[in-house]
């Protein structure tokens, strides 16, 4: 549905609501949480494979991890989960976890160190898309059983070199750190797939909820696990309904047939804010909107041009118009709420300054092409950039295409400029530092398509060793400072203009308390919710 239709529809609903009152609304049961969300991105329920937003939400509530993030205190960082404590060896390479006693899987089987070892080994051996979160510590399918071992109630993991303990533990809070019930999974193994096929559509966890049903593109139903080690959740049943259309979500919420609507557009958010009995909660998410300049381009590789581009972006104008309520200005590669995040946003639209910088670089009549994927907000940003660039004499040609078309050219280092989005993979600063500011081999032959710095042919100007140092720093405070220093330098010299950070707005019935979508660092949690 295009934006005009969307606006018209929301306006019509608003007018109709203003002119009439709703019929007495229903109410969901006190022990049940009903959420409307887009869940068509759920492709698998296997924690070793799941890497999408809605899938991660399910996983976070079904699988427990060695360490976890408390949804009521995310700023506190990782907390003991299935592991009640841990010790780090003198060489800093081995972490020994002591497992919590008396915890059981949904099947009734006890949670053992052996299950934890098997879960992490299997994630490495299966080597699905998110496996890099673990393999970056030197675990390989060949050495997994040697580097990840169980001994009685202890689990030992040995990395290939010393890393910051916070880095390793942060990674274990990710979806891939979900601990599966080895016996149940092995009983469903087919042709040596370590139960992957079965776990795609079933679950074997020990989290606060059990999977009661998943109908693709329709609904997910979770039932509370009464023996959850953290205490039985208040919401005994959680139903996540796939409702694609914002206006439909709004009607369901206003009628009281759902408790939470997660995908309302700005017009509907504005509408429900005026309705009685509904509140709107904002949370910063990890998604960043950025533009990047290919350093193979002779003009775009000039430092003054890179700076000029950052002054040619109408941050405020976009934030207050078509991105209103959906994005906030953020000019650093670590999203706010991340360890080491910076709140410095030094750039604003300044045409005169940009012109001076372009003149200093000897650049005149510059014409560049930007690739944009066919998403409404990105195309609107591109049009805004086209307008402000033109004021400084830069012609911006916008090429709109599908993900396949645009990403293929971006990964092949063929675009002059790319306008896109990036979301972190796990709740540690390395997730973004390791792609924006890290590029050990800038040659074409390196083909490091996973690194954003490489895609833009940027050698990082000396930031690569600093990122390597930060990832091994054991002292948390020092580590924070290191990332802030890296970002300060990055803002000035990099060919990236980070522009915005996403805000997720959830609309809730006002009796819903303790709702958390997980901010930028993790996924939604249901077990702490009360009504």
């Amino acid at each position: 549905m295009n934006s005009i239709n969307r606006l018209l529809t929301s306006a019509a609903i608003g007018v109709a609501m203003g002119a009439s009152s709703f019929a007495a609304y229903a109410e969901t049961p006190a022990n049940m949480l009903v959420i409307a969300n887009r869940i068509d991105d759920v492709t698998t329920l296997d924690p070793a494979e799941s890497f999408e937003f809605a899938g991660s939400d399910i996983s976070r509530n079904v699988y427990s991890r060695l360490v976890y993030l408390d949804p009521l205190d995310l700023a506190a960082g990782y907390q003991p989960g299935l592991a009640e404590s841990w010790e780090v060896s003198e060489d800093g390479k081995t972490i020994t976890f002591t497992m919590r006693e008396g915890v059981t899987f949904h099947s009734g089987n006890p949670v053992r160190a052996e299950d934890a070892a098997y879960s992490l080994q299997r994630a490495v051996i299966l080597n699905k898309t998110p496996a890099f979160i673990l393999t970056q510590f030197g675990f390989t399918p060949e050495n997994a059983t040697e580097t990840i071992k169980a001994d009685g109630n202890k689990l030992m993991i040995t990395t290939d070199k010393q890393y910051a303990t916070s880095f390793v533990l942060n990674c274990l809070t990710a979806t891939i750190g979900g601990i599966v019930d080895k016996e149940t999974v092995m009983a469903n193994e087919v042709d040596g797939d370590m139960g992957n096929t079965w776990l795609k559509t079933n679950s074997a966890g020990s989290g606060p909820y059990t999977m009661a049903g998943w109908k693709p593109n329709e609904s997910v139903t979770l039932e509370a696990y009464p023996d959850y080690y953290g205490g039985a959740p208040t919401m005994e049943r959680v139903i996540v309904r796939h409702v694609l259309e914002s206006a439909s979500q709004r009607l369901l919420l206003e009628r009281g047939d759902i408790d939470i609507a997660r995908n309302l557009n700005p017009e509907d958010i504005a509408g429900v804010m005026e309705a009685g009995g509904i509140k709107v909660e904002d949370e910063l998410k990890g998604r960043l909107m950025y533009l990047s300049l290919n350093q193979k381009h002779p003009e775009l590789s000039k430092p003054e041009v890179r700076q000029a581009i950052k002054y040619l972006i109408d941050y405020e104008g976009m934030k207050d118009s078509f991105l209103k309520g959906q994005y906030t200005i953020h000019q650093n590669f670590l999203p706010a709420t991340y360890l080491g995040a910076s709140e410095e946003n030094p750039f604003s639209l300044n045409i005169e300054k940009a012109k001076e910088l372009l003149a200093a670089a000897g650049v005149e009549g510059l014409e560049i092409e930007t690739g944009v994927r066919e998403a409404q907000e990105r195309m609107e940003i591109a049009q805004s950039l086209q307008n402000t660039f033109a004021q400084a004499g830069i012609t911006l040609n916008i090429t709109v295409g599908t993900a396949k078309q645009i990403l293929a050219r971006y990964r092949a280092r063929e675009l002059d400029m790319y306008l896109g989005a990036w979301g972190p993979d796990y709740p540690d600063p390395q997730t973004n530092a390791g792609t924006f500011a890290y590029n050990p081999d800038n040659s074409d032959e390196a083909n490091a398509t996973g690194l954003l710095a490489w895609r833009n042919a940027w050698d990082t100007g000396g930031l690569t060793p600093k990122v390597e140092a930060a990832v091994t720093e054991g002292d948390r405070d020092k580590r924070v400072q290191m990332y802030q220093d890296i970002q300060a330098e990055f803002r000035e010299i990099s060919p990236f203009a980070i522009m915005f950070q996403q805000i997720e707005q959830s609309a809730l019935r006002d009796n819903v308390m303790n709702w958390s979508t997980g901010q930028a660092v993790t996924s939604a949690a249901y077990w702490q919710v009360t009504k």
Binding site: I13, A23, N217, E245, A247, S248, L252, A408, G450
Partner: protein, 357 residues
């Protein structure tokens, strides 16, 4: 022997069995061949379109930040490294064994997905077409008989609105008024949250399953959810069917045999329904069958607005995610529906029109 010969001579002449069986067999073979060729063509074209469209099925699975080795492994796993024709032949071989493959996106057998989403569409489309036929045909007949009267004008306006009003707009307004404000009908979804998975799925159509189970609470709730989207689809069918009925009827009513019937003193009721209407039945069957087939393809926008998990949104989601197994499976089902409806129409022609025998 003589008696037998005599008896034989006196028996009514009957064509030998081979003379009646052979044409029937030939017709059956011709029909089946036609179905097979149509499906083959449909599969081939859909397959090729799926392979050349600018959506990458590998990226859909591994995500944009997967390493090159992961990308390559999945590329190979999907068989995309093989020539197109080989890929197609592999697929065809599986289909011949009734294996539509596994959805790339949700890892379930496509046949299971279709068994879940198609009954939802079938239920909605059937109610919709019933609504369209029951109201649309009499309205069209009345509009033709009372040409130029206020009934004709009302029918014209109804049809015009039906043709021109965007379905998502009408759907949302319907939801707003009948669900949001009046509370007369259920909201988006097939049943309310209290009735999810309450009755065992036998046919996949909740109304029928609830009736079979004798659970009338579920039946009422499901009916309150389906009535609005079904009416909406029915309204669009009504617009088309009533206009076509009117047009067919006008043609008949101006024919000489109608004048003759009236001159002979036949009642107007008999003139209209026993003569004129009788002669438009064959044309109407085509119109209704096409309309029904259109609804069975799934109305994507209606399904989106009403969160109705039908085959239209299933195929669309699959297409946008390059889940070609799901797209091809869905396309085969839709193709089969068209073919079966055509065959059914042909059979009805023969019932209603002796010349077609």
């Amino acid at each position: 022997m003589a008696l037998t010969e005599d008896n034989n001579e006196r028996r009514p002449t009957r064509a030998p069995l081979s003379d009646t069986l052979w044409p029937a067999l030939k017709t059956a073979v011709r029909t089946l061949s036609s179905i097979a060729v149509t499906l083959l063509g449909l599969l081939f074209i859909t397959f090729i379109i799926g392979r050349v469209m600018p959506i990458d099925p590998v990226l859909s699975i591994v995500g944009e930040r997967a390493s090159q080795s992961t990308y390559d492994a999945v590329y190979e796993q999907l068989g995309l490294d093989k020539p197109l024709i080989v890929q197609f032949l592999y697929y065809l071989w599986d289909v011949l064994h009734l294996d539509f493959g596994t959805s790339l996106l949700n890892a379930r057998p496509v046949s299971e997905d279709i068994a879940r989403v198609f009954p939802a569409t079938l239920e909605l489309a059937t109610l919709g077409i019933l609504f369209g036929v029951i109201l649309g045909v009499p309205l069209g007949v009345l509009a033709a008989v009372r040409k130029g009267s206020w009934i004709d004008q009302v029918a014209r306006v109804l049809a015009l609105v039906g043709y021109s009003m965007p379905i998502f707009w009408l759907g949302l307004m319907g939801l707003l008024i009948f669900y949001g404000i009046l509370g007369w009908v259920g909201g988006p979804g097939r049943v309310g949250i209290f009735y999810v998975d309450v009755v065992p799925s036998v046919t996949g159509m909740i109304l029928i399953d609830a009736a079979l189970d004798g659970n009338w609470d579920v039946f009422k709730d499901a009916f309150s959810h389906i009535i609005l989207p079904a009416s909406l689809l029915g309204y669009y069918s009504l617009a088309y069917i009533s206009r076509m009925t009117r047009s067919f009827m006008l043609e008949q009513l101006s024919a000489e045999y109608i004048t003759t019937a009236r001159v002979k003193g036949m009642s107007e009721w008999d003139v209209i329904w026993k003569h004129a209407f009788k002669n438009i039945r064959v044309q109407l069957i085509t119109v209704i069958a096409l309309s029904y087939a259109g609804l069975l393809e799934g109305s994507v926008l209606t399904e989106i607005i009403f969160s109705w998990p039908g085959i239209g949104s299933y195929i669309t989601t699959a297409l946008l995610s390059a889940d070609m197994n799901a797209v091809l499976g869905g396309t085969v089902v839709v193709g089969l529906v068209f073919i079966l409806l055509n065959i059914f129409s042909d059979l009805l022609y023969k019932v209603f029109d002796p010349r077609a025998k």
